[in-house]
């Protein structure tokens, strides 16, 4: 029987983490994602599954606790919001360099700096282009509903372990705070079924010592390591995920993820009611990015608009996919203000005018 609940997105992530059999959570409070750790501690997961929860003294500490624990092959995660994620970038770079699987949840708020506690999608560059120092990428998942907040936890761990790479759920204050009906996943056993040959849990007689490090003083070795990482990022393309909404006969295409995609769904509905054939491509993975799908669609639509709660970040990747074949526009509010379907419709009519 389906187990349904009405929950906030942040709570859904926490509940899904327990049910996914996550071994450890290390975090530090920050609005608008504090419910994740609050919910976890209230649920006594140490009794439910044996999951460890620890409130660290800073985001710097929590990401490094994650680094240590991830190196032992356990399923571990943290969550934070934009300023806290910025603090974690050093650790995330080490985790990517050392090729450790783990999950980082970013419930994005407006910036730069302390910014605002209201929703934003202005951390797209940071999430998809690396974020810290060095050539690396995270696997980035973009949930657009409370349901996907729950579903993407297990998915993120599967991808993280598949590629031995940190994964990020890139949400925002809107998806994190809003309540929706969610079908909860079944409780998984808290056991690790992934390859454990590389973990640091004590050197047994049957193997050499394992070392978790991102240090290669020899440039030839570091070069080889970088080539291997790049190969891995390229392979991730096979796991690209997206949703096509009314794209088949579309003359004009919107590209939006997360909360903006929810708003754009309404835009498509209203526009179609007015006889305007608009479609929506919703990336569910931002890295890997649905470049091929956008390129394919760009051959048949007249124009494309990337709708984001930012000054225009994902639009750059859309343009790279389209390669100038059709005009690519950006529309989006910043700083915690959220565009309404009417705002987007107005922008669509303005930009796509003459095409209708």
């Amino acid at each position: 029987m389906k187990e349904l609940a009405l929950m906030k997105g942040n709570e859904a992530i926490a509940e899904a983490a327990i049910r996914a059999g996550v071994d450890g959570y290390f975090g530090y409070p920050i609005t608008p994602q504090s419910e994740v750790m609050e919910y976890l501690t209230l649920q006594k997961p140490e009794e439910r599954t044996g999951m460890v929860i620890l409130q660290a003294e800073s985001e710097i500490a929590s990401i490094n606790m994650l680094y240590g624990a991830a190196g032992t092959g356990k399923k571990v995660m943290t969550s934070s919001s934009s300023p806290g994620i910025s603090l974690m970038q050093e650790g995330i770079s080490y985790i990517a360099g050392a090729e450790l699987p783990c999950l980082v949840v970013n419930v994005v708020r407006g910036g730069p700096g302390l910014g605002t506690i209201q929703p934003s999608q202005a951390d797209y560059f940071q999430a998809t282009k690396g974020g810290g120092h060095g050539d690396y990428h995270l696997i980035v998942l973009a949930p657009a509903s409370v349901q996907e907040m729950a579903d993407f936890v297990d998915l993120a761990f599967n991808l993280a372990f598949k590629y031995r790479n940190p994964a990020m759920i890139l949400s925002d204050g809107l998806i994190g705070q809003m309540m929706e009906k969610v079908e909860l996943p079944p409780q998984k056993e808290r056991v690790t079924t992934f390859d454990q040959s590389w973990v640091t849990t004590g050197k047994t007689d049957d193997r050499e010592r394992n070392i978790i490090t991102s240090l290669n003083l020899d440039p030839d070795r570091q070069y080889e390591h970088n080539l291997k990482l790049q190969e891995k990022y390229k392979n991730m393309e096979q796991d690209v995920m997206f949703e096509r909404i009314a794209c088949d006969d579309a003359d004009f295409l919107l590209v939006a993820y997360g909360s903006s995609a929810r708003i754009c769904q309404k835009v498509v509905e209203v526009a179609r009611g007015r006889g305007k054939r608009i479609g929506l491509l919703r990336p569910q993975t931002l890295f890997p990015f649905p470049t091929r799908e956008i390129a394919k669609l760009s051959r048949r639509v007249k124009a494309i608009m990337s709708v984001e709660l930012s000054a225009g970040q994902m639009v750059e990747d859309v343009r790279l996919a389209v390669k100038g074949k059709v005009p690519v526009y950006h529309y989006g509010m910043m700083g915690g203000k959220i565009h309404s379907p009417d705002d987007v419709l107005h922008a669509v009519e303005e930009k796509f005018m003459g095409g209708f």
Binding site: T201, G202, S214
Partner: protein, 259 residues
């Protein structure tokens, strides 16, 4: 007994622990790091816990510690070793976890992680090597650099008014209820080496019993950074470092020791 007799295996009274790898130490000749590495590995061997122990290497001279100690290792970002150790220990409470850190790593950039791991009473062991200087980056001022002491960033000597005075983080963390055993040792002579080894044993035994955090500071030399011969650096250390960083136990079995 002549030399041929002495070197017979049955007559050997001491040999290198197999837990030290064959890799050539990257430390400067005369430096104390190699001795401290060896002592830790000797205790790990004697306790038979090689399969149960995970080390955390720092950023600093000991960044490559995992090349020399034949146990599982994680190399941490600068100063973050106590947080990395916490993450491992919380998920593997039955394992032994230790960090190996220098003064810049532990007492400057990693102060927050050090104090909070100690305060939570993480059941880990922290080995803290204090040589009063940033060795690896070329001898810059550390938080532990003595008043008036020259370094590459205090070429005219450390001026406490402008740069702040050196501080004793070991005495600070001893005040925290989470620390169980806090001691200050050195490895510059045979006597201190034996004492230091005993301290390492106490620390790891305490971890076995889940007593809380044990913390050993080794006041050590940096002949390269101090620009002295190894012998001179040891004499200088005794005359200048030891009065400010006095040897001995600071906290035993969770209770502060009155000196």
């Amino acid at each position: 007994m002549d030399i041929k007799e002495i070197i017979k295996p049955e007559n050997l009274v001491y040999k290198r622990t197999p837990l030290m790898t064959d890799a050539t130490l990257s430390y400067c000749p005369g430096c104390g790091h190699g001795t401290i590495h060896r002592l830790i590995m000797e205790v790990v061997e004697e306790m038979g816990i090689q399969q149960e122990i995970i080390g955390i290497a720092p950023v600093g001279c000991a960044v490559l510690a995992y090349e020399f100690m034949d146990v599982d290792f994680t190399e941490a970002a600068h100063g973050r070793a106590p947080a990395v150790a916490t993450g491992i220990k919380r998920l593997w409470p039955g394992k032994f976890v230790f960090t190996y850190q220098g003064d810049g790593d532990l007492a400057a950039i990693g102060t927050g992680e050090t104090i909070h791991a100690c305060n939570r009473g993480e059941n880990i062991t922290i080995f803290f090597v204090n040589n009063g200087i940033y060795g690896m980056t070329g001898g810059q001022m550390a938080p532990t650099t003595l008043e008036g002491m020259r370094s590459s960033t205090t070429p005219y000597g450390r001026n406490s008014t402008a740069m702040g005075p050196p501080y004793k983080i070991t005495e600070m963390i001893a005040q925290l209820p989470g620390t169980y055993y806090v001691t200050r040792q050195s490895v510059h002579k045979p006597g201190p080496v034996r004492k230091a080894k005993k301290a390492i044993r106490i620390a790891l035994e305490a971890q076995k019993e889940n007593k809380g955090l044990s913390f050993i500071e080794f006041v050590s030399n940096c002949n390269s950074g101090w620009k002295m011969t190894p012998v001179d650096s040891n004499i200088w250390m005794e005359e200048n470092m030891f009065p400010f960083y006095p040897m001995g136990d600071i906290k035993v079995e969770g209770k502060l020791v009155k000196n």
